[in-house]
Every structure is written in structure tokens, then in C-alpha cells.
Symmetry: C2
Subunit: 244 residues, 2 copies
DNA sequence: TGTCTTCTTGTTGTCTGACAACCTGTTTTT
DNA sequence: AAAAACAGGTTGTCAGACAACAAGAAGACA
């Protein structure tokens, strides 16, 4: 939540400076990669103590807007590093909630596939074909290549999101994937057993790909929804995810 | 992005303490409403200076995890105050981007409708019926009641999101609606002319409602998608939104 | 000349101490 | 009893210092 969203409390100096700095970056007064003024000069120009500037910059670092290196300076982060969306870590508190996150992703991914079916270029299709081949190849490695397959699958749907032409869908999906990975990798992903259902899963992906190739919007979004509904079911059946 | 997402840089003390504190809250060691230990005692127990603790808490305040009152203390914020999702204000910079936001909402809403068709209770249905009646009644007021109708429509889909049983979908949609309203109210909503297409629009909503009543998952999500595709088209036709 | 070492300088990260602003409960005064 | 002054504690801000670190400058040496 942005500080100015909370109207209840009188904004502190830190809130003020933090907002000023982030606006400078968001408005493009500070270009990506550019070095921020030093904390001391910022403190002087804002008329506050250095601690205030530090707390403000600390927030920006936390938000991924700037990146600082000790002994060198603070720099405006690349736009690719700053996501349009942020999700609270609290969302992954309980493993049961993960299923709801996956439902959320289902809706967005299916929309992405539908849009991709409409807007895809031949180049997009080529990327998707390649990603699909990678999935197929990863499967041939058996359980050992489980993680590789997961990455290939993610890459496949990322291509779809790119082909949708919708920047926000792409960003939101990649953010979700990143966070889901962080939460799941340690728990489940490493000992995932893909061979059990590899064939059917691949067929589900294939259906998505072919619908997009045929530029069939409805079929594409439905194929995604179908895949995820089965995926959710598989996930629910897994013992290592059922706990807590 | 959380600090531990960036693996490149050695985590600073502030990163460490910030993470420790947020985990204490997220893991429930500190209950909502509870007062945090004083900055000084936190500094002592963590073995760092108070400035470090302050920078860490500053991040948590920015994230809405804690709320502090000068002279009293810092308190764990209510979970309702910590919204699961945040969207950067930059997303609404250009009006052209609004269409992409709407596409994003389409995907989530259609997923919500599908889930609602499965999970709805009779009570949910009753709420939706009431919301639909409100929409219908708002339309009879003609153009004057345009804004009222917009609110009724939003309320209708909010009911659907609630019936989906998915907390994140509900939160994300309400966040999007809030932000879209903030951006659009001044521009378009006040002089919206609903009478031109009121009948057909209402029929679209009705289709959603009946699909959910019939517990037809596919029909429900398709009906939403159909409505939004037409809504996007209407929006694109509007001159006051085409500029910039 | 070229390369390595050392020094210098500047910046961020952390520490320490102090005071201002503020809230709350207690005590004193009226 | 009610109001005012007091006391203690906490956050917010300030000031100064040093440590950690990086990058360039200057010098030593082959």
C-alpha cells in the first residue's frame, strides 16, 4: 500500500521523502541506471537528516526501485526489475492458500491464451513451438529432469503471455510464477515425479498450442482452463502438499 | 520485490532484520493489533543499532504490515489492512493501457464466475439476485443514474467474486476496481451514456447470473468473457477514451 | 614504458548519543 | 470532583563518527 493511500495518520517526513523520491523515478526524472545523488546531498536538498533519506531509500530498495552498492552509490533499477504488481508474502502463509493462487493464475493464463490466439504473429508461434519442444525433450529425461520440465513449462506459458500483447498479463504472470517458485521449490518441486502423468500433461499443452495456432480464441482459453483444472486436481492429490 | 529475491547482492543487516520481523508477523508470532517490542529492545535483542531496526520497520510500515504511532509504539496491522496485491500507479499513465488492464480483469472475472458456478451457496445466489435487481432498477433512471448503474454493476461482480470462495480473486478485483474508478471517474464515468446499450448489457449480465444459478462452470466463465469483449469494444468506440 | 602496489577519496552501512514531538497515566492543584 | 501540571516512555528526527567497500590516482619497481 502506498503511503498516501492511508489517510488516517499524519504523513511523517520519511513518508514524504519516500514518496518524493519514488515519484522522481516513476516520472522519469531519474533514468534507469542513473546514479542517485548521495544521501548527504539528498538530505541537504530536502532539508532533512540523513537518517530520513536512508529510511526512504531503504523503502525504495525494498520495492526494487533502486539498487545500492556500498562504497559506490545508489542507482535507479531497470524497469524490468520493478514489477507493476506486487503480492504480499502473506499470500503464501498457508499451503492451502496456494490452490487459490493457482486459480487466480488460471484465469489470467486462459485470458492470455485467448488473446494470444487473436494477436499472435508467426514469430510468436515459432517461439511457442520451440518452448513446446523443450518441454517434450525435458520429459524424455524422466524424473531426473523434473525441474527442467517445470522451467520449460513456465517458459512455454510465458511465451503465450508475451504473444498476448498485454504487458500487465505478462508481468502479473511472471511475478506469480516467481513467487510460487520461491515457495514451492524447496517443498515439492525437487521431488516432483513427472513421469506418472507426463503424456497426458503434454497433450494438454499441445491442445493450447494448436488452438493458438488455429487462432481459435475460445478453444485456446478453454484448453488452458482445462489443463489447470486437472493440474489443480493433481496437486490436491499430492500428499506433500496436503499438509498444513 | 522482497530483498531476498535479489540474490546478487550480499544481504545487508537491514535486509536481514526486515525479513526477520516480517516473518515474525507472517508466521503469527506477533498477532494483529499486538504491540511490537520497542525499537531499542529490538535493537538489543537483534544485536544491531536502532537505526537498522528503524529502517527495517520503515519498510514494514510501507508494506502495511505494521502501523506506528509516535509516542505510543508500533503495532501489527490488521490483515485486512495489508492488501495482498499492489499495483503501480504507473500502470494508468496512458489511457491506452487501460484496455490492457481491462483484459486482465476479464480473465480474473471469468475465472471468478466459473468458480462461483461451482461453489455458490443459495445465500450467494440471493445476494447476486439482489445486486442484479439493483442494476436493473438503476437503468430505469436513464442517463441520470449512469453512475449509480456503474456502482451496481461493480457490486454485482463483487458478489460473484465473493461466491467464488477465492480470497485472492476477490481482493485483486476490488483493488483493480478501486484503482480504475480513481482513474476513470473524472474522465468518463460521469458522462457515461448507458441508455444506448442498456438492454443488451443487462442481458449479458443476466446470462452470467443464470449460468451461475445453473451451476454451469463453462457457461458462466464464457458469459463473462462475452460481456467483457463487448464492453471493451464499446469502450474503444467511445471518443472520450480514444484520445492520448 | 608497463605493471603492480599503495594511497587517497568518496559513498554506503552501521553505531552512538542526544533531543524533539507525542501519548498515557499519575500526581498535584484548584 | 475536575482540571492542570508532571513524569515516564516511545517514536521521530538530528548530528557526528567510524567501519566497510569500491574506484581511481599516485607512486614504486621491473
Amino acid at each position: 500500500m502506498d503511503s498516501f493511500t492511508r489517510l488516517s495518520r499524519r504523513p511523517s517526513l520519511t513518508d514524504d521523502i519516500s514518496q518524493k523520491l519514488s515519484r522522481m523515478i516513476l516520472d522519469g526524472k531519474l533514468v534507469a541506471g542513473e546514479q542517485l545523488p548521495t544521501e548527504q546531498s539528498l538530505a541537504e536538498s530536502f532539508g532533512v537528516a540523513r537518517t530520513v533519506v536512508r529510511e526512504a531509500i531503504s523503502r525504495l530498495k525494498h520495492d526494487g526501485l533502486v539498487d545500492s552498492r556500498q562504497g559506490v552509490g545508489a542507482f535507479v533499477a531497470e524497469p524490468s526489475a520493478r514489477s507493476a504488481f506486487r503480492i504480499s508474502p502473506a499470500c503464501f502463509e498457508k499451503r492451502q492458500k496456494l490452490l487459490e493462487i493457482l486459480q487466480l493464475r488460471t484465469g489470467i493464463t486462459s485470458e492470455a491464451a485467448g488473446l494470444a490466439a487473436v494477436h499472435r504473429t508467426d514469430a510468436d508461434l515459432q517461439f511457442m513451438d520451440t518452448a513446446y519442444d523443450n518441454m517434450e525433450r525435458a520429459l524424455s529425461g524422466g524424473d531426473a529432469a523434473a525441474e527442467k520440465h517445470v522451467l520449460a513449462e513456465r517458459s512455454f506459458y510465458q511465451r503465450i503471455a508475451e504473444a498476448s500483447g498485454n504487458q500487465y498479463i505478462l508481468e502479473f504472470l511472471s511475478m506469480l510464477d516467481t513467487r510460487i517458485d520461491m515457495e514451492l521449490r524447496s517443498v515439492a518441486m525437487k521431488n516432483a515425479r513427472v513421469t506418472e502423468w507426463s503424456a497426458e500433461v503434454l497433450a494438454e499443452h499441445k491442445a493450447v498450442l494448436e488452438a493458438i495456432r488455429a487462432q481459435d480464441e475460445t478453444a485456446a482459453s478453454q484448453a488452458v482452463r482445462y489443463h489447470y483444472s486437472l493440474a489443480a486436481q493433481r496437486l490436491a492429490d499430492r500428499a506433500d502438499l496436503a499438509d498444513t
